[in-house]
């Protein structure tokens, strides 16, 4: 009997710490995510920093979805579908041309200059 009581004494604080760490991690993950979402009413600010009705509502809706078990990745996809890429400070890098054109141009220029130098040599 004494043994089981002491086990409980050990387990309960452990559980409390565990639950609080998990919920803190959740809050932290959400507030980190809020920082990546642009407030469309007050551009330049994230919804984490903004107190506009838009930002408050968006935070509430995101939290609801998060609490119902929707992963942040899915929430982000949905948000981008609804509001467009401008909602995110870190938009998905799916514009292949946009991201690769500078590199391709650089290679072309490099090859061109190298050929010219060889020609004059």
């Amino acid at each position: 009997m004494k043994m089981s009581k002491s086990i409980y004494k050990l387990i309960i604080p452990f559980l409390i710490i565990h639950i609080s760490v998990i919920s803190f991690a959740g809050v932290n993950e959400l507030s980190d995510y809020y920082k990546t979402i642009r407030c469309l009413v007050c551009e330049g600010q994230s919804i984490q920093e903004s107190d506009t009705e838009f930002a408050i509502n968006l935070k509430e809706q995101i939290q609801k979805k998060y609490n119902s078990g929707m992963p942040i990745k899915e929430i982000n996809k949905e948000l981008i579908k609804i509001y467009g890429e401008e909602i995110s400070f870190d938009p998905p890098k799916n514009h292949i041309i946009l991201w690769w054109t500078p590199l391709i141009l650089l290679i072309i220029i490099f090859v061109f200059i190298r050929n010219k130098i060889r020609f004059f040599k």
């Binding site: 469309l40 009705e53 838009f54 509502n57 809706q61 579908k81 609804i82 292949i96 054109t101 061109f112």
Partner: protein
């Protein structure tokens, strides 16, 4: 491959990829921003507690987000009243508002809406709302136009 062909080949590849990318973008029609949220037809009307059937709304109707705490909503209110007189069907969505304030606001200023839904922000989120007032013009179940901020006479004169 001969060196002098390198540049034209790279250029051609870039061009082909660009063209493919452009057509891929333009054929992507699954844009939820063109569709009306189904939540509007799953939320009962505030006054008669009945659901709205989209087919009864006709070819053209308007969705207007408003709130009693929103001053610009009051500015566009006379235009909405005028449109109601001309037979335009308007669904009013009361956005994040206190119920008593909302009822008082409707009593004081008149009700231009065919249906009124109360929204805790969920419908607004699905419709991609940025702020109130915001008005959506729906033609054949597709969002044809969206006006953020108060309506002006020029925006709705063809319906008056």
């Amino acid at each position: 491959m001969k060196r002098h062909l390198l540049l034209p080949v790279v250029g051609l590849v870039v061009l082909v990829v660009s063209v493919l990318f452009y057509f891929n973008q333009s054929t992507n029609k699954n844009n939820p921003r063109d569709e009306v949220s189904s939540l509007i037809f799953e939320t009962p009307d505030f006054y008669n507690n009945k659901l709205i059937y989209e087919n009864t709304l006709g070819e053209f109707y308007i969705i207007n987000f408003f709130a009693s705490w929103c001053k610009p909503c009051l500015a566009e209110h006379p235009l909405l009243m005028e449109m109601k007189k001309k037979g335009v069907k308007i669904i009013g969505i009361n956005f994040r508002d206190d119920e008593e304030n909302f009822k008082k606001w409707i009593n004081d200023h008149g009700n231009p809406f065919e249906y009124i839904l109360r929204d805790d922000g969920t419908i607004a989120y699905e419709m991609g709302l940025i702020g109130v007032p915001e008005t959506f013009f729906i033609v054949n179940k597709i969002i044809q136009k969206k006006i953020q901020g108060p309506l002006f006479y020029e925006d709705v004169e063809k319906y008056l």
